[in-house]
């Protein structure tokens, strides 16, 4: 279906504007193209298309919508379908599927991408054209994800996380080999290898740091309060309803969604976090996970903005922790779903070079109890030579680490009630949109902290690695 004459036929029927898009890279391309396109023409760049399987995901959309509707509202769907005859139904599908297929085909045909010396360019759009220029040295992370159906078809999605990137800026779908090669090439170029050699550099060798065994993951989910909470709700609410209404349908109607929700939450996390691997390579951190949908994330060095060590109440006896991380523009926020504390700390030391997790944290002064009654005991703070660390939470402890080099601004806030008790909060803002707060510190200490932190964050940059991490500089 991707034969050239067929494609040309489709194109000829289309609007002139769309024509301009399709042939923008050709010298005789549409006359009304913008100046930016002229600039593109000057530098010859090999533009590529996505994998030919891509149009099919659009073709099945109407069928999926129908199926979704039938599952969601079985009675209504049956009623409506009973009125239609089989021929009508087939006819409808026979029209809808090709239309969706044509849309899928056209959107595939008009989507091009190219890797130039300094950027990844994605050109897309049938009527409304859109060109995304993603600068390679600004890459925060590269994700290759393979949803279940894509794995069957042997294709993968490639997504580049930059600050402000759109959902549309992902390359879906590429062949699996191609996605891997493209990721290697993008990372090599972003790392600062010469464009001529970037092709041949290939994948950087990875060295595994951690693998989460399925048993530990399952046990950790069993020991999560949210699992038990939703299970209790799923058992209690229907019981109460049964005692008050004695109506079987009401009880079933609430029990099934509640049980389903409880199961889906835990099972969903198990499926998503199954076979979690963290590896280290010269291109940065590699995180691979998933049972059905596999995801492979690469976070280049120096992109991690904050790291959080979360310690739920029930895990504390086992000494287990969960580690979350923030990368600007990235959707994933988990580094380690579950691991013993010592292992987690050794991984953190690799992720944030030179950082040791502070063990001794200072408490808030006793008068903080008048501002935050019980939880003031959980508020802790430690500042080391490399990180600003705060902890909060009594039952579910969460320790946030911000390297000084990642601090964007520092703020001190003090409300009237806090002033009465000579207390103040210090907030540290990071580039991932997260703010870490040292709550309820002594007012004078907070002022000192504010200025010292500003100084540290300014000087913390000096020994940071360059954006292009393989270049010296």
């Amino acid at each position: 279906m991707s034969s050239p004459d067929h494609a040309d036929g489709t194109d000829a029927m289309d609007t002139p504007k769309a024509r301009g898009t399709a042939y923008g890279a050709r010298p005789d391309g549409g006359g009304e193209t913008a100046g930016a396109q002229d600039a593109e023409e000057r530098i010859p760049v090999a533009e590529r298309r996505l994998h030919p399987v891509t149009p099919f995901r659009r073709a099945w959309a109407p069928v999926a919508v129908l199926a979704g509707w039938a599952v969601h509202d079985p009675n209504g769907a049956q009623e409506q379908l009973a009125r239609l005859t089989d021929t009508m139904l087939l006819l409808g599908l026979a029209v809808l599927v090709p239309v969706a297929g044509l849309y899928g085909f056209l959107s595939w045909w008009f989507t091009h991408f190219a890797v130039t010396g300094s950027e990844l360019r994605i050109r897309t759009g049938l009527l409304f054209r859109r060109t995304a220029h993603i600068r390679l040295e600004r890459i925060q992370a590269v994700d290759v994800s393979r949803p279940l159906l894509a794995r069957v078809a042997g294709v993968a999605k490639l997504r580049i996380d930059v600050v402000g990137a759109d959902k549309k800026d992902e390359l879906a779908f590429l062949g699996e080999q191609e996605a891997r090669a493209l990721r290697a090439e993008l990372l090599a170029r972003a790392a600062g290898f010469a464009p001529e050699t970037a092709h041949e550099v290939g994948e950087a060798p990875a060295h595994e740091l951690l693998h989460v065994p399925p048993r530990a993951l399952a046990l950790s989910l069993v020991l999560t309060a949210a699992t038990w909470g939703s299970l209790c709700a799923a058992l209690l609410v229907p019981t109460v309803l049964w005692l008050t209404t004695h109506n079987l349908w009401t009880v079933l109607g609430t029990a099934l969604p509640l049980l389903g929700g409880a199961g889906a939450h835990s099972a969903g996390r198990f499926v998503a976090e199954f076979d979690w691997k963290v590896a280290e390579s010269p291109d940065g951190l590699r995180i691979d996970h998933g049972l059905l949908d596999r995801t492979h994330e690469t976070v280049p060095p120096g992109r991690v903005q904050t790291v959080r060590i979360v310690e739920p109440l029930l895990w504390r006896r086992l000494g287990w922790v969960r580690v979350e991380l923030d990368v600007a523009g990235s959707a994933n926020s988990v580094l380690i779903p579950v691991a013993p504390r010592a292992v987690a700390e050794s991984v953190i030391a690799r992720v944030l070079p030179g950082v040791t997790v502070p063990q001794e944290l200072s408490r808030a002064p006793g008068r903080a109890r008048w501002c935050v009654p019980v939880w003031w005991r959980g508020r802790r703070l430690a500042v080391t030579g490399t990180v600003f660390a705060t902890r909060h939470g009594l039952l579910r402890r969460s320790l946030s680490l911000v390297p000084h080099a990642k601090v964007q601004s520092v703020r001190l806030t003090q409300g009237p009630w806090q002033r009465l008790w000579r207390l103040a909060d210090v907030h540290v803002d990071t580039g991932a949109g997260k703010t870490v707060t040292a709550g309820q510190r002594d007012a004078e200490e907070a002022v000192r902290l504010l200025h010292e932190q500003a100084e540290r964050s300014r000087t913390g940059r000096r020994d940071a690695r360059p954006d292009r991490w393989m270049t010296a500089g």
Binding site: Q140, V163, R303, Q305, A328, A405, K406, V407, Q408, S409, V410, R411, L412, T413, Q414, G415, P416, R419, H427, D429, T430, G431, G433, T435, E444, V447, R448, L450, H451, E452, Q453, A454, E455, S457, R458, R461, D467
Partner: protein, 166 residues
């Protein structure tokens, strides 16, 4: 005021604080007066016409509130100050809810100078600094346009010299 200036800086690097020009206070007080006059008129006329002349005393309510706000505006205006240090910009503001912000020049992504129609009428401009963190709230309102431009140029220049990115 005096004790705050004393504790704000670390020894050896005393910031030179600058307040805001009186234009902002004048504008805010004028706006307050206009709104109060309108409210007082409504609060006095409506009960006065429908319930009897004595009820027109309701007009005093907005006036009293406005007198209080008049003072608050003055205190708030006095609380705003900023200081350009060698490597960072300090902004301090608020009376009851105090906030002090420090932004290293190297972290600035963009400097924005805005001026609405009312602000323009009073010859005022607002300078806002953006960093990569959305939570950074570094705004200096009610500056002289000339001062705003000087600040913008200086911040841009310093930001370029010390640029650090994410």
């Amino acid at each position: 005021m005096a004790d705050r200036a004393g504790t704000a800086g670390i020894p050896g690097d005393e910031p030179v604080w600058r307040g805001l020009p009186p234009g902002l206070l004048r504008m805010r007080r004028l706006l307050l007066s206009v709104w109060t006059a309108l409210l007082a008129l409504a609060a006095g006329l409506l009960p006065g016409l429908f319930a009897g002349p004595a009820w027109a005393a309701f007009a005093l309510l907005p006036v009293v509130c406005a007198a209080w706000c008049w003072r608050l505006l003055g205190r708030n205006w006095r609380s705003w100050r900023y200081a350009e240090r060698a490597d960072d910009l300090l902004i301090s503001r608020g009376v009851l809810w105090r906030e002090e912000t420090v932004v290293p020049y190297g972290r600035m992504q963009l400097v924005e100078v805005t001026s609405g129609p009312v602000e323009r009428r009073f010859g005022l401009a607002t300078v806002q600094l953006h960093t990569a963190a959305a939570a950074t709230d570094a705004t200096i309102p009610g500056l002289d346009p000339a001062e705003a431009e000087r600040l913008r140029d200086r911040l841009t220049e310093l930001g370029e010299a010390r640029s650090a990115g994410l």
